[in-house]
């Protein structure tokens, strides 16, 4: 039985039992090259649920604080390993109620970066097929077809994945994926090495350059599963006006800095912000740098242990790292 079949079966069962009011998974988008989130309320509709290496959406975004509608809805959802960490982060803060959730863990061997594929073609993509594990066959509007190895076109985050299986789930869709030995090897920070090697001035310049094109659509914060302020976001507040409303590299950078600090110790590097950005800003950069600092200083990996609190939400006089 494929993972997709498992997902459909779990969803149908949970809906039929009344365990959940609706089930969140993934379905095909406007054509077979695209996947979008799916909300299924009727067991008869579970066949629209799919699982392919295009299912990049972190569905935890839809259950973050205040989102369930109605507020007491019981929700089922699929999580990949990376998504599950954001769920754990929300559970650590008691921002979601475990009792109202039904979580299906989907072991994942890597998500394909559609943008990488788009850049390979002048034409629009109309179909992305996965004839077997590891093979990606892309067809364009003009009928051009090319095959890629899945590993060559993965999202960058997937290349560094340490958690292919969900850390928190009620049911698991099929056999687990092989896990790296996490005791043996720590996180891979090579993606930010170039940035870290810059001088302070160069870093400032690099960040201003990177954020210059931001249009402040706030997609990154909306899609961020641990960013929970919604319309109260200080980045949009005029009282006090911490971030000027005018568009400019410095204001954009300040906006992202504030976001980084608000999710520091809670950001799990899921990469949802990067994928949501319509102007393709590598939003990830600042968060990764912060995550590395936190890992080096506190040995803390956000969203990995249910019984932990985010590191900056502890008032602990006895932390080993600062003596008294």
């Amino acid at each position: 039985m494929s993972r997709q079949d498992h997902i459909r079966e779990f969803a149908a069962q949970a809906l039929a039992d009344g365990r959940v009011d609706y089930f969140i998974g993934w379905k095909q988008g406007y054509n077979s090259s695209e996947v979008v989130p799916a909300f299924v309320k009727d067991p008869a509709d579970v066949d629209q649920l799919i699982w392919t290496p295009l299912c990049h959406h972190n569905l935890v975004t839809f259950i973050k604080r205040n989102m369930p509608d109605p507020a007491d809805a019981k929700i089922g959802l699929c999580v990949k390993g990376c998504d599950s960490r954001t769920l754990v982060a929300l559970l650590q803060e008691e921002l979601v109620d475990k009792e109202k959730l039904y979580v299906v863990g989907v072991p994942c061997d890597g998500i394909v970066d559609r943008r990488k594929l788009e850049k390979e073609f002048a034409d629009e993509l109309v179909d992305i097929a996965f004839p077997e594990r590891g093979r990606v066959v892309v067809t364009t509007g003009k009928g051009e077809t090319r095959e890629f190895a899945q590993d060559d076109v993965l999202l960058d985050v997937c290349g560094r994945c340490r958690y292919p299986n969900a850390l928190y789930a009620d049911d698991v869709a099929g056999p687990l994926e092989a896990e790296p030995d996490r005791e043996e090897s720590g996180p891979d920070w090579s993606d930010i090495a170039d940035f870290e090697n810059l001088s302070d001035d160069e870093k400032q310049a690099a960040l201003e350059r990177v954020y210059a094109t931001c249009i402040r659509c706030f997609a990154c914060v909306h899609v961020c599963p641990v960013c929970v302020c919604w319309d109260k976001c200080v980045n949009r507040s005029r009282e006090p006006e911490l971030v000027a409303q005018k568009v400019g590299a410095k204001e954009n950078l300040l906006f992202q800095m504030i976001h980084m600090f608000h999710v520091a110790g809670r950001c799990t590097s899921c990469g949802a912000c990067d994928r949501a950005c319509p102007v393709e800003i590598p939003l990830y950069l600042l968060h990764r740098k912060m995550n590395k600092e936190i890992y080096d200083m506190f040995g803390f990996e956000p969203g990995t242990k249910l019984d932990e609190k985010p590191v900056f939400q502890l008032f602990d006089l006895a932390t080993d790292h600062f003596g008294d």
Partner: protein
């Protein structure tokens, strides 16, 4: 708005490096500033009068004083403007001394910086609003944690003044370390003879409740209104029945280490630490009890005339409320066996700690006061004392002086001569002698001259056994040569360390401690018994090593501070606390996570949702929640966010060069 700016010379403290006159004049160029004045000593009576005069004459509605740290004189000036007719919170202080004049030497540069600081203070002053204190009822009962001489003294002083006091002590009896001592320096009066009457007073005082064999489990609340969970540990003896007859102790077949006698000889699994224990009640150390280990025995139950043995007893939590807490948790003796392998690490029988020697000297100790060699029971001919074992030694992470060892070693040396006769050879190895108390230096001189104790200045590098003797190898730094002494008995002047569990307790109480686990006082000179948590006070060695006179004096000082606090029926709360603007609260509860005082709570709204609410009386105004709140909807009264933004903008304006 009409702001007055007063720039203090502080003699030459500020005026020496900052051009004070020019700043006062220049302040008038700032928006809303209608008065600028430089004053020699603003905190002096004429200085304060000048402020009040200006408030009246210039109709000031905000006052900025550029002087020292608000730690020093903010309360002074708040009172001053209050008397001058302004709300005390319409005052802002610019620190141009600690933050400026004291750390700079170049006058033009320092003056520019002082100008920036003053500009910022004025910017903040514009945003200040009047604030008003609240009053809160206080509970007048006092918790004293620790029943040693410090706790006893503080409790008696407080109880005599009419307050209800609860002493929580983790052993079965009060008395602490002082109860273990033989004689006390420099007067050589018997420790038990002076302590036990105080212990009895505590036991019988109508205002004192003794909770021995108890520990503090949890502390919540705030000054005037603490709630404390106290764990009554299971003693397996019903203390309401136990009469302290010790028959159970005599008949108990199981041996157990004797903590009171510092492990010299074993006691029984059911034990009473010493005859004058208060309360005199038995307790079972279950890990050594035959019944608890094998399921068979119950001898104590059979012989107890009061039917007090209760093998089913469980720990119990008692919740009590207090207005103030005194921490008098005392000390542990340095664990020399781990720290000093070169002294045999506990393997040489005739090398003992200072506290063990106290018990050996003591007439009611395990040997009836007979000083002898533990290896063969013979009277010693040569006794060597080694000072600073676990003190002033960075190699064992004890760089501090334990402050009592020089004196107790001299006392023990004298008592050795007294017990063993004047022909016994007594040597003391020392680094230097610290005898700073009243009559201490004279005492040392007497021990050296009258009693002929030989002081050798130097460290002992090694102790080893040879031919039935303990060989003491060291150096005499005055003669500059190696010495080796064949000793019969070696006594180590083991130092003081913070007791086990001190850090845990400090965390429960939200008070700070130093790297060695001693509790931190509010100010080393001016707030020596207060902590930085209002309502929590310190007494005795919990705060740092000290001898009995200093401990007792400090305990009485602590008691007077507690009395001062609880003399009022209501406490004024600071109005400078956090407040949640609930319309923007997104219920992320980060404020609850980070608050060290448990001030924010989840408050139910009319629609059934919950939003954060800061309990006014619990909030200490530290601002952690304000900084944490992602939607910026918690503000600290007296520190409006806009004021801080204005200050930042002000300082970012380029200063025209001097």
């Amino acid at each position: 708005m009409r702001i007055g700016v007063f720039v203090c010379h502080c003699g030459s403290n500020i005026a020496g490096t900052v051009d004070v006159d020019r700043l006062a004049e220049r302040a008038l160029t700032l928006k809303d500033v209608v008065h600028g004045e430089d004053i020699m000593y603003t905190c002096s009576e004429p200085g304060q009068a000048a402020i009040q005069k200006a408030i009246e004459e210039k109709k000031l509605d905000r006052v900025v004083v550029a002087a020292c740290s608000p730690h020093m004189h903010e309360p002074t000036f708040r009172r001053c403007v209050d008397k001058g007719g302004l709300n005390p919170y319409l005052f802002e202080m610019a620190n141009i001394r600690e933050h400026c004049s004291w750390i700079h030497t170049d006058m033009p540069v320092a003056t520019d910086k002082a100008w920036d600081i003053i500009k910022m203070a004025v910017a903040k002053a514009r945003r200040l609003e009047p604030l008003f204190s609240n009053e809160v009822e206080i509970n007048k009962d006092v918790l004293v944690i620790g029943g040693g001489v410090a706790g006893i003294q503080a409790a008696l002083d407080l109880a005599d003044a009419g307050l209800k006091v609860t002493i929580v002590e983790r052993e079965t009896t009060i008395g602490g370390v002082m109860a273990k001592l033989d004689k006390t320096f420099p007067t050589i009066d018997c420790s038990a003879c002076i302590l036990t009457p105080r212990m009895v007073d505590c036991g019988q005082h109508e205002n004192i409740e003794l909770m021995t064999y108890c520990e503090v489990d949890k502390v919540s609340g705030y000054v005037g209104n603490f709630t404390v969970d106290i764990r009554k540990k299971a003693s397996m003896v019903d203390w309401s029945k136990c009469i302290g007859c010790e028959i159970c102790v005599q008949k108990c077949p199981s041996k157990a280490p004797d903590v009171f006698n510092v492990g010299l000889e074993p006691t029984k699994a059911i034990y009473i630490p010493f005859p004058q224990a208060v309360p005199k009640r038995a307790a079972i150390q279950t890990e050594y009890c035959r019944y608890f280990q094998t399921g068979k025995c119950k001898v104590c139950e059979r012989v107890c005339p009061a039917d007090a043995i209760d093998f089913e007893q469980k720990d119990e939590i008692v919740q009590k409320r207090f207005g103030a807490i005194v921490v008098a948790t005392g000390l542990d003796v340095f664990d020399w066996e781990t720290g000093y392998p070169e002294y045999g690490g506990g393997k040489i029988k005739d090398v003992i700690s200072g506290l063990q020697y106290e018990r050996m000297l003591n007439a009611s100790g395990p040997y009836g006061g007979h000083v002898h060699r533990l290896s063969n029971g013979e009277d010693p001919k040569t006794v060597v004392f080694i000072q600073c074992v676990g003190s002033r030694d960075e190699s064992v992470n004890r760089p501090y002086c334990s402050s009592v060892c020089c004196m107790y070693t001299a006392k023990q040396a004298l008592l050795t001569k007294d017990h063993c006769g004047s022909d016994v050879e007594v040597y003391v190895f020392y680094i230097d002698i610290r005898a700073t108390g009243k009559g201490y230096e004279e005492f040392i001189k007497r021990v050296q001259t009258e009693f002929g104790v030989k002081y050798v200045r130097g460290r002992v590098s090694k102790l080893y056994e040879d031919g039935g003797k303990v060989m003491v190898r060291g150096v005499d730094t005055l003669l500059g040569e190696q010495v080796e002494i064949a000793a019969d008995l070696v006594v180590l002047a083991t130092g003081i360390q913070a007791p086990e569990g001190a850090k845990d307790l400090a965390q429960k109480l939200n008070i700070s401690y130093d790297e060695f686990g001693f509790m931190k006082e509010g100010h080393p000179k001016l707030r020596p018994v207060e902590t930085n948590t209002a309502g929590v006070f310190l007494a005795g060695v919990s705060q740092g090593p000290k001898d009995i006179p200093a401990t007792v004096a400090q305990a009485s000082g602590t008691a007077s501070k507690v009395l001062g606090l609880l003399a009022k029926d209501k406490l004024k709360t600071s109005p400078m606390i956090a407040i949640v603007d609930q319309k923007n609260c997104v219920s992320c509860w980060k404020c609850i996570d980070v608050c060290p005082f448990s001030a924010p709570e989840k408050q139910e709204q009319r629609d059934g949702t919950f939003k954060s609410h800061v309990i006014e009386t619990v909030c200490q105004g530290c601002g952690v929640c304000v900084a944490t709140c992602p939607v910026n909807t918690i503000s600290l009264k007296g520190f409006p966010t806009d004021a801080i933004l204005d200050q930042i903008e002000e300082v970012l304006q380029p200063t025209p060069s001097h």
